[in-house]
């Protein structure tokens, strides 16, 4: 069951990698992760509606504070692997949208569970000219082993963006690559799109 222990921490990963709506184009990637993490933690701690689990407010926080910091096109393309190039532009657009919705739904359920944790930020080891870096953090909860959470980040015109979250060695992108491959193998790209759409509809119904 060890694997399972780490999965919920992926939530923290997504939550804490967020960005403010204001673009900090020149901000270093590790500084960005730190700023966003602390911003989100402070927001959770100070907002009773969030702590009570108000779904609308949770969505708001995720949309405005977290999502602007993610490069969903890259996340989706990486999860698709070489199947990405076989998809038409229209399929790609739909895939990005559906995958984004799936991740948002999954993680909004757990946003408020993590208000009593602290995050330590490790020194960034990267060259100044690097356009891809890994930012390393560790989440500490009372009475539990620290959970390492790494962010794969890429430099874009709009500043640094997160393209992978790796929790205790489990990469979000790698996990979904298997899932996507499986769906594409049995039903093609359209089969994958359909599976994602159905999953998202089901999530709404619940």
């Amino acid at each position: 069951m060890h694997y399972a222990y780490w999965l919920p921490r992926a939530i923290v990963g997504l939550l804490c990698a967020a960005a403010a709506a204001v673009a900090f184009a020149q901000e270093a990637p590790d500084a960005m992760v730190k700023r966003v993490s602390q911003d989100v933690m402070a927001t959770i701690r100070s907002d009773p509606r969030l702590q009570a689990g108000d779904p609308q407010r949770i969505r708001e926080v995720i949309e405005t504070k977290l999502l602007p910091n993610f490069d969903f096109e890259r996340i989706t393309a990486l999860a698709m692997g070489r199947n990405w190039r076989q998809a038409t532009p229209a399929q790609q657009k739909e895939l990005i949208e559906q995958f984004r919705a799936l991740l948002v739904r999954t993680y909004s359920g757990a946003l408020t569970q993590y208000k009593d944790q602290t995050i330590s930020f490790k020194a960034l080891r990267a060259e100044a000219a690097a356009t891809e870096v890994t930012v390393r953090t560790e989440v500490v909860r009372q009475g539990q082993s620290p959970v390492p959470i790494d962010y794969g980040m890429i430099k874009t015109a709009g500043g640094w963006k997160v393209y992978d979250v790796i929790v205790g060695g489990i990469s979000l992108v790698t996990n979904y690559r298997d899932e996507f491959n499986e769906q594409i193998r049995s039903g093609g790209v359209d089969g994958l799109i359909k599976a994602l759409q159905e999953k998202n509809k089901g999530a709404v119904a619940k």
């Binding site: 060890h2 399972a4 999965l7 060695g169 298997d178």
Partner: protein, 234 residues
């Protein structure tokens, strides 16, 4: 002794069943067809048996008792972590682990209280599966065992060694021993309550999701957090 025999037989049967249904496909999961059957069997067993027990344990058992059980299990894990640290030549880590076991077993009521953590001695997390990996032994086929979860031939062998050599087996009173096994199992499931609902929400195919998570996690542990870059397969 019979407990040991049962465990070995149970796993042996699982492996044999799997072997019968071997199908071509992913090289790391040659028994996928039968593993999926095991996964399907596990689902109701977990949903209507293991999970409710674990949930009740978390909801109604006093925190002190929950902590004591967890500490007892952790103390034995620490012992094996030390042994495996030695087997991998990681002497510093092994020293920490054995130090923890001595302190907690001696001053912490046979491991029920985790004094060593309060004293700031970090926990290791080595196990036999990781030692085999460190020695270069590959994972072998992936296996899914009902009520146990994901494992591989390599890691499963390690888990059996951990069970068979546990100091708990030396407790002469069978009833006491079985209660300890039972509580340990509940604690294990309780530790993963959040995870299972997340897997259901997040994944298109939970079987694949669990498999990839498990294999990634173990690879990461074998390399102490610095696994070699993954190849992009098929």
């Amino acid at each position: 002794m019979t407990t040991r025999a049962h465990t070995v037989v149970a796993l042996g049967i699982a492996v044999l069943l799997s072997a019968c249904a071997s199908t071509p496909g992913r090289p790391y999961d040659p028994f996928e067809a039968s593993n999926r059957v095991m996964y399907a069997i596990n689902d109701p067993l977990d949903r209507y048996f293991a999970k409710p027990i674990a949930q009740a344990w978390v909801d109604y058992m006093p925190d002190v008792v929950q902590m004591a059980v967890r500490n007892y299990v952790n103390n034995i894990d620490d012992l094996f972590s030390g042994v495996n640290g030695l087997l991998q030549g990681k002497l510093d880590k092994a020293g920490n682990d054995f130090g923890r076991v001595l302190i907690n077993s001696g001053f912490g009521l046979a491991g029920l209280i985790d004094i060593a953590s309060d004293a700031g001695i970090p926990r290791g997390n080595e196990d036999f599966g990781q030692t085999f990996g460190y020695w270069g032994i590959p994972q072998g086929p992936y296996l899914f065992i009902p009520l146990w979860g994901p494992t591989t031939v390599r890691d499963g062998t390690g888990s059996i060694m951990r069970l068979v050599w546990s100091p708990t087996t030396e407790i002469p009173d069978v009833a006491v021993r079985n209660v300890i096994y039972g509580l340990g199992a509940i604690d294990l499931r309780a530790g993963a309550l959040e995870a299972t609902s997340l897997i259901e929400q997040a994944s298109l195919d939970p079987y694949t999701f669990v498999r990839r998570s498990y294999l990634q996690r173990r690879e990461y542990q074998v390399y102490d957090g610095k696994p070699p870059p993954e190849k992009d397969e098929d």
